[in-house]
C-alpha cells in the first residue's frame, strides 16, 4: 500500500493519539478532580474540532481522504496504517461528539473522577482507531483497547450487578475477538506462504487465494467477533446486562459507539476479505437480523426497567442495520450507515434522559414511575422527543435511516422488507408504553423536584437539535457515504 493516494497528513495520528495524551494527563492529575475534568473536556472538544476539520479534506478518486502508513513492528510485518474515507469520517465525528457528551454528563462524578475521564478518553482513542485502522493487527489492538476502559466503566461506576455485567461483557467480547485473532494470524501465514511477503495490510491480505472452506472458516471467525459486538441475535445476551448496569457515560459509549464498531468491522474487514463466504452467509444473516428485530422488540415490551427497554431496543435497531447490509445495495447500505449514526445520537440521548429521570426519582422501574410531566415538563419533553425519534417518527432521526434500509431492501428482497416493517410497528409499541408509563399516568413522587439544570440543558439541546436535523435533512451525511459505499460494494473499496 502506498501513501500517495489521498493526502498523507498527521491529522489521523493526531486523532488517535490526542485522546491518549489527554487520558495520560487525566490519570496524572488524579489528585485534582477539577483539573482532570477540564483536561477531559478540552481534549474531547479538540478531538471533535479535529474530526470536523477532516470534513474539509477532499476525497480521492478511490474514496480515501487521508492515509497514513508507517513501518511499526517489522519483525512481524505489522504496519501502522490508518485511513479515512467517508464512512470512517462520519463514525469518527459521531464518536467525538458522543464522547464530548459523555464527558459533560459525567461532570460531577465523585467516585475516582480522574480515572473515569481518563478511561473515557482512552476508550475514545480505541474507537476512533478502530474506525481508522487498515492493518489487521493494529485493528485488533485497538479493538481490544476498547475492552479495558469499558470493563472498568461498567465494573467501577456501574449499578448493583456491575461486577457480573462487566465480567460477562469482557469474556463474551474477548472470546469473539480471540477467534478473530486466530483467523487473522492464519490468514497472514497463508498469505506469507503464497507470496513470500508476510504482512497484515488489509489490501494485501485481500489478494490471498483461499479455498472456499478456508474462506468460510475465517469469515466465521471474524464474524464471531463482530456478531458479539453488534450484537446479532444469539450472541446478544451480554448486552442487556452491560447496558443496564453501566453508568450513563458507559451506556452512551456502549450503545452509541461500541455496537457500531461491529458493523463497521463487517463492512470494512469481513465482507471485503471473504466476499464469497459473505455472499453465502447473507440469507442466514438476514434471518438472524429479522429474528433479532422481533425478538428484541418483544423482550423489550416485557421489561419493566426503562434502561433495559432501551438496551433491547438497541438490539432491535441494529437488526435493521444488519438487514440493510444484507440487502447488499447502495441505498440500503447508505441507510444502514445513516441509521447507525442516528441510532447513536438518539439512543445516547435517551440514555441521558433516563439517567436524569433516575437521578430525580431514584428508580427506573415502570410501575414506580409516572406523571413526570407535572413536575418536570422540560425533561419530559426531551424524553418524549428522543423516544419518538427512537421509534422512527418521520421527521426525526431514526426514520431517515430506517426508511432507506426498507426501500433498499424492498428493491432486492421484498419479503424481508415487508417482514421488517412489522418491526417498526413493534418498536412503536414498546417505546410508547415506556413513554406513557413514565411521563403520564398516576404521578410518582420525585424526591428532587428540580427541573433541568444548566449543564443538563447544555447537553440535551445539541442532541435535540441533531435529532431533528438528522431527521429532516440527512443529505449532508449521505453525500460522503456515496462513493465509499459504492466502492465497497463493488470491489471492497481498498486503498
Amino acid at each position: 500500500m502506498t501513501a500517495d493516494i489521498g493526502t498523507s497528513s498527521p491529522l489521523l495520528s493526531l486523532l488517535l493519539w490526542l485522546p491518549v495524551a489527554g487520558a495520560v494527563l487525566c490519570f496524572a492529575s488524579y489528585r485534582s478532580a477539577v483539573l482532570a475534568r477540564w483536561v477531559a473536556l478540552a481534549t474531547a472538544l479538540l478531538v471533535l474540532l479535529l474530526s470536523l476539520a477532516c470534513l474539509t479534506c477532499p476525497a480521492g478518486p478511490d474514496g480515501w481522504m487521508l492515509l497514513t502508513d508507517r513501518s511499526w513492528i517489522e519483525a512481524f510485518g505489522i504496519r501502522y496504517s490508518l485511513g479515512m474515507d467517508g464512512i470512517s469520517l462520519l463514525l469518527v465525528i459521531l464518536t467525538a461528539f458522543l464522547q464530548l457528551v459523555a464527558v459533560l454528563i459525567s461532570w460531577d462524578q465523585e467516585k475516582y473522577p480522574a480515572l473515569l475521564f481518563g478511561l473515557l478518553l482512552l476508550l475514545e482513542a480505541g474507537i476512533i482507531g478502530v474506525f481508522l485502522a487498515l492493518d489487521l493487527v493494529l485493528f485488533y489492538l485497538l479493538w481490544e483497547l476498547m475492552l479495558i476502559p469499558t470493563f472498568f466503566l461498567i465494573g467501577i461506576w456501574g449499578y448493583r450487578r456491575r461486577v457480573y455485567a462487566a465480567v460477562k461483557f469482557f469474556l463474551f467480547t474477548l472470546a469473539g475477538s480471540l477467534c478473530m485473532l486466530l483467523a487473522i494470524i492464519s490468514l497472514y501465514l497463508l498469505h506469507g506462504e503464497q507470496t513470500g511477503s508476510y504482512t497484515f495490510a488489509l489490501a494485501a491480505l485481500k489478494q490471498t487465494q483461499l479455498g472456499f472452506g478456508q474462506e468460510m472458516l475465517f469469515y466465521l471467525c471474524f464474524m464471531a467477533a463482530f456478531a458479539v459486538k453488534i450484537p446479532l441475535f444469539p450472541f446478544h445476551s451480554w448486552l442487556p446486562d452491560a447496558h443496564t448496569e453501566a453508568p450513563v457515560a458507559g451506556s452512551i459509549d456502549l450503545a452509541g459507539l461500541l455496537l457500531k464498531t461491529g458493523v463497521y468491522g463487517m463492512i470494512r474487514f469481513a465482507f471485503p476479505l471473504f466476499p464469497r463466504a459473505a455472499e453465502q452467509s447473507l440469507p442466514v444473516l438476514a434471518v438472524l437480523a429479522l429474528f433479532g428485530i422481533f425478538y428484541a422488540a418483544w423482550i423489550a415490551y416485557l421489561q419493566t426497567d426503562i434502561k433495559r427497554i432501551v438496551a433491547y431496543s438497541s438490539i432491535s435497531h441494529l437488526g435493521f442495520v444488519v438487514l440493510g447490509l444484507v440487502a447488499w445495495g447502495q441505498t440500503a447500505w447508505e441507510g444502514s450507515l445513516l441509521l447507525m449514526v442516528n441510532h447513536g445520537v438518539t439512543t445516547g440521548a435517551l440514555f441521558i434522559a433516563i439517567a436524569l429521570v433516575q437521578k430525580r426519582t431514584g428508580t427506573r422501574e415502570l410501575p414506580k414511575l409516572g406523571g413526570l410531566w407535572k413536575s418536570q415538563p422540560n425533561l419530559s419533553a426531551f424524553f418524549l422527543l428522543f423516544s419518538l425519534a427512537s421509534l422512527g417518527l418521520p421527521g426525526l432521526a431514526n426514520f431517515a435511516g430506517e426508511i432507506l434500509v426498507l426501500i433498499g431492501t424492498f428493491g432486492s428482497h421484498p419479503l424481508w422488507a415487508v417482514i421488517a416493517v412489522g418491526g417498526v410497528l413493534f418498536s412503536a409499541v414498546y417505546t410508547l408504553r415506556m413513554v406513557q408509563c413514565t411521563i403520564w399516568g398516576p404521578s410518582c413522587e420525585p424526591f428532587d423536584r428540580q427541573d433541568l439544570g444548566r449543564r443538563e440543558w447544555l447537553v440535551l439541546i445539541p442532541l435535540a437539535v441533531l435529532v431533528v436535523l438528522l431527521g429532516c435533512y440527512p443529505q449532508p451525511l449521505l453525500d460522503p457515504l456515496q462513493l465509499p459505499v459504492s466502492l465497497l460494494l463493488r470491489s471492497g473499496g481498498l486503498p
Partner: protein, 472 residues
C-alpha cells in the same frame, strides 16, 4: 585459570566474589541498607561487564560458554537480582533481615543463574542449577519468625532434593550412553543412536523430570503455590522470574542441538505443555490469594513457554526470550506491589484484604492492574505481543493444536486475572489493615516495570531486534 579465562568469566566472578566479600564484611559491619545497595551496585556492575566486555575465550574450561546469548542472559538475571535487592530494602528493614547474608545469598543466586544459562556441559548445568537452588532454600525460609516461610522452605528443599537426584542420575545415564559431558557431543552422540540409546533416552527423561520440578510443570508443580505464598514477597519475585527463566534459557540450546533426533523428547514436552496449561489454568480459577494465583499463573506461563521451546530454532528462541522478558516485568511488578503493600506483621495477599485498594493507593492498584492485564495478554500491554509472537511461531511451525490450547487457556486465564482487578477497584469496602505507604525504591521499580509493560506493548520493535541478535 588463565587470565583470559578469568576475564571471560568476569561477570560471574564479580557476583561471586562480591557476595563473599559482603558476607564477610557484613559480619563486622551490620548496616542493612549499605549492603543491599552495594549488592545492587555489584549486580549492575556484573551486568555492565557482561554487556560491554567482549570475552577473550568462547568457552571456559569446557564448562561454560561466553556466547552473546549467555552474556545476554547474564545481563538479564543480574539486573533482576539488582532489582530484587532494591525491592527488598524496606521489606528487609521491617523483618530485620541480616543485610549482609541476604545480599550475599541473592548475589550467589545471580551467579548460579548466569552460570546455568551459560553452561555448555552437563556438569556446568548441574553446578549452575544447584548453586542457585541451594541459595533459594535459605532465601525462601529467610523470615525466621514466619512459620509459613519455614514450611515453604522445607517444601522447596524436599522437592528440590528429589529433583537434584533425578538430575544427577539423568546426567550419569546420558554420560553412560554417549561418553561425554559436553552438551553438543553428548546430544549429538545420542542422536546417532546405537545400543545405548535407550539409556540416553532414560537420562533425558530424568533430566526432564528435574527441569519439570524447577520450572514447576504439571505434574511436578505441587510445591509452587505453597512456596510462593510462604516465601518473602521479594524472594517470590525472583523465584518466579529469574529462577525459572534461567532454567528455560539453559534448556533452549539443548533442544536446538538435538535437532531431529529429539522426536520422543518433543512428544513428551508437548504433552507436558498441554497438561501444564490446562491444569494450571483450572487450578488458578478458584484462587482467592494473590500470591497463590500468581503461582498458578506462572505455571501456565511456563506451559506457554514450553511451546516456544518446542518450536525451537530462531523463531522459537525469539518468541521465548521476548516472552520471558515481558513475563518477568509483569510478574516482578506484581510481586513488587505485594512487597510494597506489606507491613511488619503481614503481607496483604488475600483478595478480601485487597478490597477497595484503588481508593487507598490508586497508583499501585493501577500498576497491579496493568501487570495482570499484561499477563492476561490484553493489548495494548506487552503481554499481547509476547503471546502474539509465541502463538505465531507455533502456528508457523505447525504446532496448531498446542497454539489453540494455549489460546484457549489464555482466554480462560482472563477470568482469574480479572478477579483481583475487580476486587481492587469495584468493591468499596475499606481495607481492614491499612496498607503501607511504600518506599521510594519500590515506587521506582514499579514505575519502571509499568513503563516497560506499556512501552513494549506499543513499540516492541527494539526488544524484538535485540532478542534476534543475541540468539545462538
Amino acid at each position: 585459570m588463565s587470565p583470559a579465562a578469568l576475564q571471560s568469566l568476569l561477570p560471574q566472578l564479580i557476583l561471586v566474589f562480591g557476595a563473599t566479600l559482603i558476607l564477610l564484611a557484613g559480619a563486622w559491619l551490620p548496616g542493612r541498607r549499605l549492603w543491599l545497595y552495594s549488592g545492587a551496585v555489584l549486580a549492575v556492575l556484573a551486568a555492565l561487564c557482561a554487556a560491554l566486555l567482549s570475552p577473550a575465550l568462547t568457552e571456559v574450561g569446557g564448562l561454560y560458554g561466553t556466547s552473546l546469548y549467555a552474556r545476554f542472559c547474564t545481563v538479564v538475571w543480574s539486573l533482576l537480582v539488582a532489582a530484587t535487592l532494591l525491592l527488598s530494602r524496606r521489606y528487609a528493614d521491617l523483618h530485620r533481615f541480616g543485610g549482609g547474608e541476604y545480599t550475599a545469598l541473592l548475589l550467589f543466586a545471580g551467579a548460579g543463574m548466569s552460570l546455568l544459562s551459560a553452561a555448555t556441559s552437563l556438569i556446568g548445568l548441574f553446578l549452575g542449577l544447584e548453586a542457585f537452588t541451594l541459595v533459594l532454600y535459605i532465601l525462601i525460609a529467610f523470615n525466621r519468625s514466619d512459620n509459613r516461610g519455614a514450611e515453604a522452605g522445607l517444601k522447596y528443599l524436599v522437592f528440590g532434593a528429589v529433583a537434584t537426584g533425578f538430575l544427577a542420575f539423568g546426567i550419569a545415564l546420558i554420560y553412560t550412553a554417549t561418553g561425554s559431558f559436553h552438551i553438543v557431543e553428548a546430544l549429538g552422540g545420542l542422536q546417532s543412536g546405537g545400543a545405548l540409546r535407550p539409556l540416553g533416552m532414560a537420562g533425558w527423561a530424568m533430566l526432564l523430570v528435574a527441569i519439570g520440578f524447577k520450572i514447576s510443570l504439571v505434574p511436578f508443580h505441587l510445591w509452587t503455590p505453597d512456596v510462593y505464598q510462604g516465601a518473602p514477597a521479594p524472594v517470590s519475585a525472583i523465584l518466579s522470574t529469574a529462577a525459572k527463566g534461567a532454567v528455560l534459557a539453559a534448556f533452549l540450546p539443548l533442544l536446538n542441538v538435538m535437532g531431529s533426533g529429539a522426536a520422543e523428547v518433543k512428544l513428551v514436552i508437548s504433552l507436558l505443555a498441554i497438561i501444564t496449561m490446562l491444569v494450571g489454568t483450572f487450578a488458578a480459577l478458584p484462587q482467592t490469594n494473590l500470591k497463590r494465583m500468581l503461582a498458578y499463573s506462572s505455571i501456565v506461563h511456563m506451559g506457554y513457554l514450553l511451546i516456544s521451546l518446542l518450536v525451537g530454532g530462531t523463531d522459537g528462541g525469539k518468541a521465548l526470550l521476548f516472552y520471558l522478558i515481558v513475563y518477568s516485568f509483569a510478574t516482578f511488578g506484581a510481586f513488587a506491589v505485594v512487597t510494597s503493600l506489606s507491613s511488619e506483621q503481614h503481607e496483604l495477599q488475600d483478595y478480601a484484604e485487597l478490597r477497595g485498594l484503588g481508593y487507598h493507593c490508586p497508583r499501585r492498584a493501577m500498576a497491579l492492574a496493568a501487570f495482570l492485564f499484561s499477563l492476561a495478554g490484553i493489548p495494548p500491554l506487552a503481554g499481547f505481543f509476547a503471546k502474539f509472537g509465541l502463538f505465531r511461531a507455533a502456528l508457523v511451525h505447525g504446532y496448531t493444536g498446542l497454539a489453540i490450547i494455549g489460546i484457549f487457556a489464555s482466554l480462560v486465564s482472563v477470568y482469574y486475572y480479572l478477579r483481583p482487578i475487580l476486587v481492587l477497584f469495584a468493591q468499596e469496602e475499606s481495607v481492614t489493615l491499612a496498607p503501607n505507604s511504600g518506599a521510594r525504591g519500590e515506587y521506582l521499580l514499579l514505575a519502571g516495570c509499568f513503563a516497560a509493560v506499556l512501552v513494549l506493548g506499543i513499540y516492541p520493535g527494539p526488544l524484538l531486534d535485540l532478542v534476534a541478535v543475541v540468539l545462538p
